[in-house]
């Protein structure tokens, strides 16, 4: 006695957005994916809270019903899981008691119902995994509870009719398996096997077996295509000949309009229902409102026929022949990372190792560069930040770089280290983090972990420009040393013009008594002692002594410069010596020497030509004069005769001074 076609329902009403666009298999992307397509869970970003309410508009005195509350979480980048509690996913029928029962006094005995049948889908769980960027799989399980309350009558021994309610219950888990696939140019595909497995927790007794939810198996396929940023159209079709068609249009960036059609008996296009919906994105909250209207209202107004009840086959209990028109409201809150990613860091190149001696220079010279890609569809302004924990007080930030869609820009970034980087004793590796954040967002879009190679505080890369950062004239130990030396020498009666010359001579000679020249203890040229260390250790190599002497000179206000010689025929035999400014002007050069080979005349910042003396510190033990002679000899040979400066293999690096 099949009077009606098999009435099967595979639609879900748990997402207002889903109701709005009708076809959601390819698009499902929030916690409600546990119904539509569990693979969609991978679209959750970090945490998602989801609330749904609905109101049956065609039923008088119906208020809003709390439909569901769900939590979704993305973890380990590629995994996502969700759990949902949906007290409002109910389907309940009552068969009223039709006959009247009177007591002996002729009063009617109130019987609430003959039968009450309720189906609930209160608990759902889902898991999904991103196998590839564009492909994800997922499964979900939904617990269906069925309960029948049946009123039974009997006659007691006094021939009085009594009634009693008996409850029967059944429950089972239905497991769905789904996949979603995205293609870059705007195509989305979804495939779900509904109720693929059923695990019965509790069965009805034989007498009630016909009230058990059958949870029929079906397969649903969905396709969506996004014509532009603003329009996306989708359609679903399933093995039960249901076809859904819908569109979502972004009116503004924040506002969306949706509409959909629900048809049955495919390939006939017999309309069952239509929907309209709105969405507002107000990060981190997404609010959706939708209205679902059925064309045939029979059975949907709270009253139906027992034959329809007996005929219905269910895949789910949301969308049934009894579902009234409804207004759905969903609120989804994204916690954690919420904004759309506009920019990605593709690659980070660290341009240099970090030499603590010159840590300040990284505030002006890029320490690395990041290749940033605009992954959005609009031009963005991206800033890159860099941070190394412990060694930086806060991240540095570059100026904004404009990047067109799908283009990349290499952004050099700086590092402002704090002095704790000087605690690094030996070559070490630290984690540095590079962030990019694109306007107008406040949060960063992408992050890139990189390795920061921090040299020991005494490490040196051989670059004379770096060497100058080892020269610390303000070091209290250096000031103490030079003050002690100069106080002892009592130079106050000396000629004022020669004061600096005398100071330099005295400091050198005292240093020569105090410190011994030795070869680099590590047999390499990449270790430089700080001046205070040299004085304290009482020994140093060429670089250490040059640095130390320069610091001593700087400490008493004598400008100096490093002369860096890299012979072109033998670059490995490079050498550094020093020259300092005696402050004596060129016409007074004879006060120092009549032999012009012994000095260098350099114009200072004020345009005055003064006499500089080259000094070779490796001959420290032989005293100042010999060091001067050697330095002058080198300079004459390298610069005057061989023109090393003009040819570029001799470099003079002035050491800054505040005097």
């Amino acid at each position: 006695m099949i009077l009606f076609p098999n009435i099967l329902f595979t639609q879900y009403l748990s997402s207002s957005r889903g109701v709005g666009v009708a076809a959601f298999t390819a698009l499902s992307s929030d916690v409600s994916s546990v119904d539509w397509n569990p693979a969609g869970l991978t679209n959750i970003r970090e945490w998602e809270l989801n609330f749904s309410n609905f109101k049956s508009t065609s039923i008088a005195k119906s208020g809003f019903t709390f439909q569901s509350f769900g939590i979704g979480k993305k973890f380990f980048e590629k995994h996502a899981a969700a759990i949902r509690y949906s007290p409002g996913s109910n389907l309940e029928f009552v068969v009223p008691a039709a006959f009247s029962v009177y007591d002996t006094a002729g009063n009617i005995i109130i019987t609430k119902f003959d039968k009450r049948i309720s189906f609930k889908k209160n608990y759902s769980v889902g898991y999904a995994y991103n196998i590839l960027d564009e492909l994800s799989f997922g499964f979900s399980a939904r617990l269906f509870d069925s309960k029948v309350s049946d009123t039974k009558y009997f006659i007691d021994t006094n021939n009085v009719i009594q009634s009693q309610v008996s409850d029967y219950s059944a429950s089972s888990w239905a497991v769905d398996f789904g996949a979603q696939y995205k293609i870059n140019d705007g195509w989305y595909f979804g495939l779900v096997f509904k109720n693929l497995f059923k695990i019965n927790e509790e069965d009805f007794t034989e007498t009630m077996r016909n009230y058990q939810l059958n949870l029929t198996k079906s397969v649903c396929f969905g396709v969506a295509y996004s014509f532009s940023d603003r329009i996306i159209t989708s359609f679903d079709i399933d093995t039960k000949n249901k076809l859904r068609l819908g569109t979502e249009i972004s009116a503004f960036d924040l506002f969306k309009i949706r509409g959909g059609f629900y048809t049955t008996d495919f390939p006939k296009f017999s309309l069952e229902a239509a929907s309209i919906g709105f969405g507002i994105n107000y990060n981190p909250v997404q609010l959706s409102l939708s209205y679902l209207r059925f064309f045939e209202q029979t059975n949907r107004l709270g009253v139906s026929n027992i034959d329809i009840l007996n005929m219905s086959r269910y895949a789910d209990i949301d969308y049934t022949p009894f579902t009234p028109d409804r207004l759905s409201l969903s609120v989804s809150v994204n916690l954690g990372r919420t904004k759309d990613i506009l920019a990605r860091i593709e690659f980070v190149e660290m341009l240099s190792e970090v030499f603590p001696a010159s840590y300040q220079t990284y505030a002006f010279r890029p320490i690395g560069k990041a290749r940033v890609r605009n992954v959005s569809t609009k031009p963005i302004e991206a800033k890159v930040s860099f941070f190394v924990d412990d060694f930086m007080n806060e991240p540095t930030e570059t100026k904004p770089f404009r990047i067109n869609p799908d283009e990349t820009v290499e952004v050099p970034f700086l590092a402002v280290f704090n002095s704790s980087i000087n605690r690094v004793k030996k070559f070490s590796i630290y984690d540095g983090t590079v962030y990019v954040h694109a306007e107008p967002a406040a949060d960063y879009d992408d992050r890139y972990q990189t390795r920061v190679l921090v040299r020991g505080k005494n490490d040196w890369n051989g670059d004379v420009l770096l060497l100058r950062y080892f020269i610390t004239p303000n070091d209290p130990d250096i000031i103490k040393f030079s003050r002690k030396v100069l106080d002892k020498a009592k130079l106050e009666n000396e000629n004022g013009l020669l004061l600096k010359f005398e100071h330099a001579t005295t400091l050198f000679n005292e240093l020569s008594k105090h410190v011994q020249y030795i070869n680099d203890p590590k047999q390499t040229a990449d270790f430089v002692q700080y001046p205070a260390e040299t004085i304290s250790l009482r020994s140093g190599d060429c670089d250490d002594l040059t640095v130390c002497y320069a610091a001593l000179l700087g400490g008493v206000g004598i400008s100096s410069a490093l002369v860096d010689v890299i012979p072109p025929d033998d670059p490995t035999n490079s050498h550094i010596y020093l020259m300092f400014d005696t402050g004596i002007e060129a016409p007074d050069a004879n006060l120092i020497s009549e032999n012009s080979k012994r000095f260098v005349i350099r114009k200072n910042e004020k345009g005055i030509q003064t006499v500089w003396l080259p000094v070779e510190t490796t001959v420290l033990s032989k005293g100042f004069t010999e060091a001067w002679n050697t330095g002058a000899s080198y300079y004459f040979h390298d610069v005057i005769i061989n023109n090393g400066i003009g040819k570029g293999w001799v470099r003079i690096v002035d050491l800054p001074t505040s005097f």
Binding site: T65, F66, V95, F99, F154, I155, N158, N159, V303, I306
Partner: protein, 293 residues
């Protein structure tokens, strides 16, 4: 932002506190709505019925409030291999004010003598009622009237009495109710797990079905009224749902009588008798059946 969020969620919860009502399922083909189940009352209430005269059992609770009754029944019996028909007339006038009590409980009432009582000109047998009373011993507590005779169809039933003592003579006519004849009924047994579809030939807008259990042995059969169904007769029959059939205490009795009753009744006043008098006339079709669980 957090405050806004909190507010929003609160609204969402508050808005959602209602629960949608269930879908009411109507069964168009179910005759339950035509059926009222009336209580038959406890056996002690049916003082009259236990006399064995009332084969239909229809003098249960609903009629027990009348202290005087003039009853005329034209009854057809269907047993497995037998069909009988007869007319049963009975009458009694209880003396309400002089109840007989034992341990402060009313056991019964005495009844008046109304002289010679006739139905359609035939004299009813007058039976004395005797009772062993604690103080008086065997005592006459009044009379009852009964007549059984062959089935005969009459349009009107006329009760006449000569009167006796304080009760004056009376002459009362009441039209006969439409006759009832059950057309389809299983001959031997019914099954409670299947709805019982019954058709009858009767124009009375109300048809009563009394289901009684048959107790006692072959020689002292006794009927215990169990279920009284009052059917609104709009379609010449009824489908009795399983829910009602399940009421039949199949284990307590081996056989049951389904009595289909079309009745008409009215109340009259008789000079000298203080209470209302029920004048009852019915057409009864009783079918004896086994009931299987």
């Amino acid at each position: 932002m957090n405050n806004k969020l909190f507010l929003l969620l609160t609204i969402a919860f508050v808005l959602g506190c209602q629960k949608p009502g269930p879908v009411e399922i109507i069964d168009d083909k179910d005759d339950s709505k035509l059926i009222d189940i009336k209580s038959t009352g406890s056996v002690s209430d049916t003082l009259y019925a236990v006399s064995g005269g009332d084969t239909s059992g229809n003098f249960g609770a609903q009629n027990s409030r009348y202290f005087a009754k003039l009853i005329h029944q034209s009854i057809r019996f269907d047993r497995l291999l037998r069909r009988d028909s007869l007319i049963n007339s009975e009458a009694i006038f209880f003396d309400k004010d002089n109840s007989i009590k034992h341990n402060n409980r009313v056991i019964t009432f005495p009844s008046f003598d109304v002289g010679t009582l006739k139905i359609n000109g035939e004299v009813l047998n007058k039976f004395p009622r005797r009772m062993m009373l604690p103080m008086q011993g065997d005592t006459l507590i009044g009379y009852r009237y009964q007549l059984r005779r062959n089935y005969e169809l009459t349009a009107t039933n006329r009760w006449t009495s000569t009167g006796s003592g304080s009760i004056d003579a009376f002459d009362i006519s009441i039209p006969s109710p439409p006759t009832i004849r059950v057309l389809n009924m299983p001959p031997r047994f019914i099954n409670v797990s299947e709805p019982l579809n019954i058709k009858w030939d009767c124009t009375n807008p109300i048809v009563n079905i009394f289901i009684s259990g048959e107790a006692g042995d072959l020689f002292a059969r006794r009927l215990v009224p169990l279920i009284h169904l009052q059917i609104r007769n709009i379609k010449g029959g009824v489908t009795v749902p399983v829910k009602i059939l399940e009421l039949i205490p199949v284990k307590r009795f081996s056989r049951f009588v389904f009595s289909f009753v079309s009745e008409s009744s009215e109340t009259v006043r008789i000079s000298g008798y203080p209470e209302e008098v029920l004048v009852h006339s019915s057409s009864v079709h009783s079918i004896f059946l086994s009931v299987q669980p």
